[in-house]
Amino acid sequence: MAAISLSLSPNPSFTTTTTHKPYHPLSTPTFLKFPTVSPSTIKSLTHAPLPQTPTPRATFSTRAAASTTPSTTFHGLCYVLGDNIDTDQIIPAEYLTLVPSNPSEYEKLGSYALCGLPDAHSTRFVVPGETKSEYSIIIAGANFGCGSSREHAPVALGAAGVAAVVAESYARIFFRNSVATGEVYPLESEVRVCEECKTGDVVSIELSESRLINHTTGKEYTLKPIGDAGPVIKAGGIFAYAREAGMIPTLTSS
């Protein structure tokens, strides 16, 4: 993952820790999105073939256990998109009046996630009237998130319940905003997975293995390593990263 604008800098050195806090600048999400140390039970679960019944929500390894094998697993239904899905399709500009740092508006953003997709996408990402999507993993083609710098885009996806996006490539600002906010995990596939997955397939992502498994088709795919954005993601976003480096003071609890 060479094309990342965030990464470990030579100046503030990053020390690897086995535990780290999830970083959520916005409201209180209902689940964790950042890597934590996985209980081995959940990890092993994803190796087993899963029943092909729809999984209502993503399940994640969320507990920090005293394991020495850090791993994160995302599991759920995928929603499949093509190339050049721009930010207007992810969150149309008319909804940018919603302020992501306001918890109630954060949730509303989620309800509009991907509502800008042309009607040719017959399966809606979020059922009208719902605030969350039943799809927790997005699989897309090249240049995902191109267009605007609106942070509302990764926030809308995160608010709708998306844990990770697996795309062939990303537009720079979308990738950066995903990392900075920690709203979604922006992963890259080595091949065009979007051609081989269908919306509604049951998939798992094993971060430590850099692997995407489509349980519906039984195929496995290799993901590119997260690369030089890893340390920032691992720290929990740009603020946590800067705090670890001693650049900004830790906020005393209010």
Binding site: M1, A2, A3, I4, S5, L6, S7, L8, S9, P10, N11, P25, L26, N84, D86, D88, P92, A93, E94, L96, T97, L98, V99, P100, S101, N102, G116, L117, P118, D119, N143, C146, G147, S148, S149, R150, E151, H152, P154, S169, Y170, A171, R172, I173, F175, R176, N177, A180, T181, K224, G227, D228, V232, I238, F239, A242, M247, I248, L251, S254
Partner: protein
């Protein structure tokens, strides 16, 4: 992410060799085929080569190897003497800009992370410009401008271009309009500096020979508190444009040509440097158009070396001292593209992607429903002058509704006040009125990005629009099934006159 994997490793430098790339590179090939430079020289650049540039290097010290101007700005801003693409550095920010769409969220993050009573890092380096959703009855949009005002009062922000009376923008002397144009007009764009803004078209300011790029709310919240941001040094693509620009072309045609050439992701994570005799001949506003749309190619920033045109523009706009930087002769570029602009023809980007390039004349059978002239890309004074020139030359009336949204209050005043050359003293507004255009609207981002449902000229139905704006993805101007043809102000005006996508040469020759 493949985009950066093509960065030349430090051991293999691709040095620009003027002899290899001389004018002979201009062939009589088809006008649209650019000459992609294939890493012309394989000469290895010695890392210990002594400094030999006559130009002043980065102020931070002697230059060991050649750097591009973008790399030099990063080096200066991170207090380093030498940097290479791919390095991540904490950069000192000279100006942070935000607006009504992303400001409130950025302030929210700033307060959450630095505390409710935190103070911004520098009240004079933050520029706050309401511009997106202003003339609307949308309550949340109005509230967002109130949030900007409260924050600016609380933090004593020096540059806040407020609007309170939405009924008459002229009653708000502080109000400017579209942030990227206002930044330039108010003297916030200066060579050699780092400008970050919560808007993807912040790259517009690269026209001034500075590093300017768009960031998100979280990064902006970080900058508000620290004045710094962790940024990756981008490799540079160099675009050399030579040849006399025909009088039916505008900078919009040049950037549509480039995006069509390299695609909407061709410059992802990269800097795009524009040089050559054509670029040197461009006005500041035209250079802004060129840099404005680099983000449509995925670019991190666009940049034009500062010159006498730049200095002249800045003369009465800023008293802040600035120091331009220039790419070294031995700077390393990821690749170089050459264009003979004299052979270029007027272009459009067809729906639904800015890289869906076509000749305007190839689309002459595309019937259109309306024309929109406005935005940070195509709503500057010279854009309206260009449109007026076409209307004047034709002497005819428009055949489709033609909407005009000046970018800023200053542009609006120019539209109503400046005489159009060759018109016998008529202003743009008079010419537009005679041509049957809609009355120029209040300055703002307008319908370029759709916005609230009651936004002026928003595409509320699935119509076909020729627009001088920057994006034509589905739903960009409102309706998901709307079709947007991106074009220069010349082409937009010509299309308004015929009701079809039209090559402006039909009226300008």
């Amino acid at each position: 992410m493949a985009a950066c994997s093509t960065v030349a490793p430090p051991s293999t430098s691709f040095i620009r060799n003027k002899k290899d790339l001389g004018l002979s590179a201009f062939s009589s090939a088809s006008p649209l085929s650019s000459q992609k430079c294939k890493r012309t020289s394989k000469t290895i650049c010695s890392v210990t080569a002594p400094k030999q540039s006559e130009r002043k290097p980065a102020t931070t010290g002697s230059v060991k190897t050649g750097m591009t101007m973008t790399e030099k700005i990063f080096a200066r801003a991170s207090e380093k003497t030498q940097l290479s693409p791919g390095e991540n550095v904490w950069v000192n920010v000279d100006v942070l800009m935000t607006h009504d769409v992303c400001g409130p969220g950025s302030f929210g993050i700033f307060k959450k992370e630095f505390g409710q009573n935190a103070k911004v890092w520098d009240r004079e380096k933050i520029v706050i410009i309401p511009d997106h959703y202003i003339f609307t009855s949308d309550e949340r949009a109005n509230r967002n401008v109130d949030i900007l005002r409260d924050f600016c009062t609380e933090q004593n922000i020096k540059y806040f271009y407020d609007i309170k009376d939405l009924g008459n923008f002229k009653a708000n002397p502080d109000y400017k309009g579209v942030c990227h144009v206002a930044l330039a007009q108010e003297g916030h764009c200066r060579p050699g500096e780092v400008l970050l803004g919560t808007d993807s078209h912040t790259c517009t300011a690269g026209a001034f020979g500075q590093f300017a790029t768009g960031i998100g709310n979280t990064d902006a919240g970080f900058v508000l508190g620290t004045g710094k941001l962790l940024l990756k040094v981008p490799p540079t693509l160099r675009f050399v444009m030579d040849g006399e620009m025909p009088d039916y072309l505008l900078a919009k045609d040049l950037i549509l040509q480039i995006i069509g050439e390299i695609s909407v992701s061709g410059a992802t994570y990269k800097a795009m440097e524009f040089v050559g005799s054509t670029v040197e001949s461009l006005s500041m506003e035209e250079r802004m158009t060129l840099c404005n749309m680099v983000v449509e190619a995925g670019g991190k920033n666009g940049i034009v070396p500062a010159d006498s045109t730049t200095y002249k523009y800045l003369e009465d706009k800023t008293s802040v001292p600035y120091e331009p930087v220039y790419s070294d002769d031995k700077a390393r570029f990821l690749s170089e593209y050459r264009f003979d602009i004299s052979k270029l023809e007027p272009l459009v980007a067809k729906p639904h992607s800015p890289d869906n390039r076509a000749l305007a004349r190839e689309c002459k059978d595309v019937k259109i429903d309306r024309v929109y002239i406005g935005s940070c890309t195509g709503g500057k004074t010279e854009d309206f002058m260009a449109a007026a020139k076409v209307f004047l030359a034709s002497g005819k009336k428009v055949k489709v509704p033609t909407f005009l949204v000046p970018a800023t209050q200053k542009v609006w005043m120019d539209v109503y006040g400046l005489p159009v050359p060759g018109s016998g003293g008529k202003t743009c507004s008079q010419i537009f009125e005679e041509a049957g255009c809609d009355t120029p609207a209040s300055p703002s981002c307008g319908a370029c990005l759709g916005g609230p449902k009651d936004t002026y000229a928003r595409l509320n139905e699935p119509k076909v629009c020729v627009s001088t704006t920057n994006r034509n993805f589905p739903g960009r101007m409102g309706h998901k099934e709307g079709e947007i043809y991106l074009a220069s102000p010349y082409t937009a005006a010509a299309s308004a006159l015929t009701g079809y996508v039209t090559d402006p040469r039909e009226f300008l020759q």
